[in-house]
Symmetry: C2
Subunit: 260 residues, 2 copies
């Protein structure tokens, strides 16, 4: 176990830099934070290093982590400055970003996908990924202008689901819509002006849903890429749904139809 004592340490500076997207992008790594999240890291997922606080290393056997990757130990106060949570649990992992095979995803039998345009709220994005994973969706595609998948708040809200389900970032919705057409996968827009309910669609076949930004909904341009607009019924008085709730209603309709 390597000890780091100071803010001036090169490793510490690097870890601290990884709080910023630009550095995560440059290095192609991210920080997985917390005991629960670290325990969700699959066997086959590479880890470059684990970082623990002194308090954590005193209370836990870090040998199990050392089997997989080098462990760095940092004083509690310094460790806390690396973390997004108020009460850090004392462990994080430096992981290479996930690299999913998009071709394989399209080769699945009757795949179903979720596409999102400019999701901005980290909690929403993480929840969408967690829900898509629970539903057994085959992939999530995020447009340019979405919050970063590797933002710590997004990671936390996924509850580890990002290790299970392929998520593709910075995608052009136009190119994706062309690809979906080629593959004969209908793209449904969640749209307030849609006429059909999701319950009217045959979702046992391949399908993809596009949901819009939390505040603005779908852009006109993005809505035009879709084959059909679908309306989630709102018989009550609220005029819109939280984006992660809208995604859940659509994805669970796929589950319902396929379960029978």
């Amino acid at each position: 176990m390597k000890k780091i004592e100071s803010r001036e340490n090169k490793w510490f500076k690097r870890l601290n830099g990884l709080k910023l997207k630009k550095n995560r992008d440059k290095e192609g790594v991210f920080l997985a934070e917390g005991l629960r999240f670290v325990s969700e890291i699959p066997e086959e997922q590479a880890v470059e290093a684990f970082v623990v606080s002194e308090g954590f290393s005193a209370a836990h056997d870090v040998a199990i982590y050392e089997k997989k990757a080098p462990v760095l130990c940092i004083p509690d106060g310094l460790f806390a400055t690396l973390c997004d949570t108020e009460n850090p649990q004392g462990i994080l992992a430096v992981c290479p970003k996930l690299d999913w095979d998009e071709t394989a995803v399209f080769r699945k039998k009757a795949p179903f996908f979720l596409l999102a345009e400019e999701l901005n709220d980290p909690g929403n994005l993480g929840t969408v990924i967690r829900t898509a994973d629970a539903c057994g969706a085959d992939g999530v595609f995020l447009s340019k202008g979405s919050v970063d998948l590797y933002n710590p708040k997004v990671l936390r809200a996924t509850m580890g689901a990002l290790f299970h389900i392929p998520v593709f970032q910075d995608r052009s919705l136009e190119e994706l819509s062309v690809k979906l057409k080629q593959e004969r996968i209908p793209l449904y827009a969640a749209h307030l002006q849609g006429k059909d309910y999701p319950y009217d669609l045959d979702l046992r076949q391949s399908c993809a849903f596009l949901i819009g930004n939390e505040a603005r909904g779908l852009s006109e341009q993005a809505a035009a890429y879709c084959d059909q607009w679908v309306k989630i019924p709102m018989p009550g008085r609220a005029e819109s749904l939280n984006a992660s709730v809208a995604a859940a209603v659509l994805l669970y309709e796929v589950v319902r139809q396929r379960i029978k």
Copy 2:
């Protein structure tokens, strides 16, 4: 328009105190924050006072607010200290807490309800209320130990839905389960060990769902109050759902069954 200049002003001190639940409880009022939220206040909802920042009063015609209640004007810096958001919009309303008639709620035709045990996350609770409102649910009941409905983060996530749908706080789940039995309304628990899917239930009849705490799920005690445990299918790899997503899947199954 009354001007408030100092932190020592009695009104300012009172407003500042309303950030705390104990003061909201003592006075029976809450702060509705932001232009969007204030615009959601229904005609029939009483407002004790509006509070605006100097910047807001320079840019907006506050006469429309003065028709309904006195308007207090506060310097921008002081105003910001009253707000939960980082970029306050310059307006808030002091409103008496909502007082719904529970008897009326049970008298509805085939009512459906959501009950929640110790929801702790403000965003989750607000989203649950917004979703229940969109679904046309007849009421939301919160157990003791839930986050306060009038917490500013909860209010924001409701997007104004709390003005539309009756929400009852600090309820005993045991007493509620007795009441539901008397009214012959089946209470379904969202439970990982449930056997039936929500799709197997007849939800065109009166019904109520109970969801558990974000981290712990339902307590054994609360689960025992329920007539039937219901399992939300998770054909993918995630082992649980966000609480507001679980609520949405259940409430939208009611909508789906009733829409036909």
